[in-house]
Symmetry: C2
Subunit: 236 residues, 2 copies
DNA sequence: GAGTCTGTCGTACGCTGTGCGAGTGACATC
DNA sequence: GATGTCACTCGCACAGCGTACGACAGACTC
């Protein structure tokens, strides 16, 4: 039995005549719950309770939980700023985009687990990529290269950010100052270092460094590296 | 209540004296189940059944389902080839790595959903990144830049591949030849195009193109772009 | 007053991860 | 041979999950 391709964006939202519940409210409440307690904490029952209504009432406004997640995920993309490139120059605009997307994902860490799960084709995601295309278009990219350039940048930001989020989540609760809590991390790292002298050398350089700053430097390196690579393609 | 950082890699595997069940067997069976039926199909009961044993027997060899997923995920990284850079030159080695990782992820599409979930610190992941470091080291990168360079490449591959996998999964069952099945995709795309003329122009260029080939071209563009950016950094 | 449409919700089904404790067989020690 | 200890398996049970279904209430139309 073949399945049709289907997604929330394929259907219209229910007309919002309802007084007590609406798709917007549901999405907003889901976002709050996700931000506060993470992906596992979002259940239809808990969400219903937070909205002061029955769990199954939600299903009038949303087909199923997957679609709800699609809606919430798209909301994340709405929070990414992207300045007009004719004001700032395309490199600055692209940088602001990259840092903005990174920040938006950090603000909603549960999104890291959803990215690999469904394509981002909601209106906000579309709007964002259209603006990114415009940026690169004004920069001088044309034809396929225009598309390629913007998805290269997008890919880098996603691929750099999601593992960062995974790290942060794994460390949640463990604090740097408390040696006992970090012992687990250290033992994993030590084991790796023991087998691979190259890794040991690398880790040594990070000693005593704030991991957030280290990650930011890392991100910035890759970003300017990509922008350089793109720029080289502009002169043909 | 604070939580300790903990992971499978922190503990030793149970000594493999067991005749009927072993960690390796469990991981292998889990991988088969995941490949055949996807992430949702993996339940401890189904896995137990496939192994011809009770569901809860698994818990003697693996602390919980999360750890099992960590183990299976690490197995994916073991399948990535990386040629010695002194034979092929660092750019070729890096390309082979990138395509190899991409292929490994494609072979196990469920991995896309796990990448944002937990840091990849298993022995195979470590081994792979150590080899990548060696590659860039021989290329001439030093200090922090060595680390940055390899994680930039890693980030790009992950970020480019996971959305591709998400797309493929969403299209599963829908075939290009069958217009009816693709109608859903088309309506989403059309809606986006209506709101954003830039997007419409882009989509038009892909018309009639094999999407797999289009994606490969896209991937290749970004990859050479990054390698160029990295190379520019080599001459200081 | 009757009928229809919109929206809510209680109940129920089949499924999940996993804690617990009972059970089994191999081996060591007396 | 009896007893004890360990490595391992597994049935049961619990709390929770997503969601199909049908009953129900209120508003609006004829």
């Amino acid at each position: 039995m073949k399945q049709h391709f289907s997604s929330v964006w394929t259907r219209e939202s229910r007309p919002a005549k309802s007084t007590t519940l609406s798709r917007d409210q549901i999405v907003r409440a889901a976002m709050e719950l996700l931000d506060a307690e993470g992906l596992d904490a979002l259940s239809m029952r808990r969400l219903g309770a937070r909205l002061g209504s029955g769990a199954t009432s939600i299903y009038w406004h949303v087909a199923n939980k997957d679609e709800l997640l699609e809606l919430v995920m798209d909301e994340v993309f709405s929070k990414v700023a992207l300045p007009a490139p004719d004001v700032t120059g395309w490199r600055d605009a692209a940088s602001v985009f990259a840092y903005g997307l990174r920040a938006a994902l950090f603000d909603h860490p549960w999104s890291a687990a959803l990215i690999g799960t469904r394509p981002s084709i909601g209106p906000n995601a579309m709007e964002l990529s259209a603006r990114l295309l415009r940026t690169f278009s004004l920069a001088g990219f044309e034809g396929m290269a225009l598309d390629y350039a913007s998805s290269t940048l997008m890919a880098y930001v996603l691929g750099a950010t999601t593992p960062e989020i995974a790290w942060r989540a794994a460390m949640a609760g463990a604090e740097l100052n408390d040696e006992g809590l970090m012992a687990g991390v250290k033992s994993v790292v030590d084991r790796a270092a023991a087998d691979h002298p190259e890794l040991a050398e690398r880790y040594a350089e990070y000693d005593g460094m704030d991991p957030d700053i280290a990650r930011k430097l890392n991100f910035d390196f890759g970003l300017t590296c990509i922008l350089d690579g793109l720029q080289a393609r502009l002169g043909r």
